[in-house]
Symmetry: C2
Subunit: 193 residues, 2 copies
């Protein structure tokens, strides 16, 4: 199965692989390459050069068949590949939920974190395998790989939540996350230039 199941759906056994970034049974698989994330990194010229070059995958999102429909509780496994654009670490586009619902991330492998922004306050939660990051309703969220291996996490979110990517384009995320030696540093947000 490579599409969402149609409600009403039956009870399901779902397995996932922290080593491969897959879910079984499979729902839709989303792949975001450098050419899919215009305006995401502060250095837009460098992003365009990378897109015009080998156009690397920035992240993938493998969903289970549980659909994004009201009343369901879908799950997905995100893999952010390691890398940076002018020192700014690979990250997801980030979104706000149009229906203000909470979400959990469960760390699976690699080194990463969740940047959250409610329009006023910004929070950074460093993730570890086996740890939950809780995203309260009303907080936009973006994940960042700050290591040199794939960073993977499982997301569980109400099917009604939705994805408003435009909110993040308009408001930013409060911070950007840059490489700093073997670690990282959080810098004030700046629009892509």
């Amino acid at each position: 199965m490579t599409a969402y199941a149609i409600p009403p759906i039956d009870p399901l056994r779902i397995s996932f692989s922290a080593a491969h970034g897959t879910m079984t049974p499979e729902g839709p698989l989303l792949t975001r390459r450098m050419s899919d994330v215009a305006g995401l990194f502060a250095d837009e010229d460098a992003r365009r050069r990378a897109a015009d070059g080998d156009d690397p995958v920035v992240y993938t999102v493998a969903a289970s068949p549980v659909p994004e429909a009201a009343g369901e509780l879908p799950q997905s496994l995100t893999t952010i590949l390691p890398g940076a654009v002018s020192g700014e670490f690979h990250m997801t586009k980030g979104h706000m939920h149009p229906d203000p619902q909470g979400e959990i991330y469960l760390g699976l492998s690699g080194r990463g974190g969740v940047l959250m922004y409610d329009g006023t306050r910004t929070e950074w939660i460093e993730m570890e395998p086996g740890m939950i990051g809780y995203i309260p309703p009303g907080w936009a969220h973006r994940s960042v790989n700050v290591g040199d291996e794939p960073y993977r996490f499982l997301a569980v979110y109400p099917g009604s939540a939705g994805h408003d990517y435009g909110w993040v384009v308009e408001h930013g995320m409060g911070r950007r996350v840059y490489r700093d030696g073997a670690s990282y540093t959080l810098a004030p947000f700046s629009a892509a230039g």
Copy 2:
């Protein structure tokens, strides 16, 4: 913290222990002893004798501080202690969600499963550590320890879902789960006698 946080709540890092059945930070802890589960097992006389004896713990539910409130996505870690009453394995009371919302269970340790019942159809999902059991909206759910170690799982469910225990008392769960040598067998449901 041994109570739910009051909304609006801030982003949270939450860790949990599959070895100890705890969540950190802590929310409320529920303990169900044999004396708390009158009418749960088919052999009510044997249950009462156990309650009048050393009244063993049947299961505990350790919640995170994320509250059971609309828009939040609370989590809890259930530990079902090994044991049986006249051959019927230890289990949770089970409930239906008054607000029809899905739920996921993530297997953590031990051997167990989820019994689900929608009033007509009954399903049994055998759980494994690292596996998700998906409970669709409209299905009552009960967990059972079919092994001889504690069985533990993490639950994630919308805060609006609620717990209707009366539905299960009235309708049963379609099946009962009994010890069968080193394994288990599913028998037709019978009311406690």
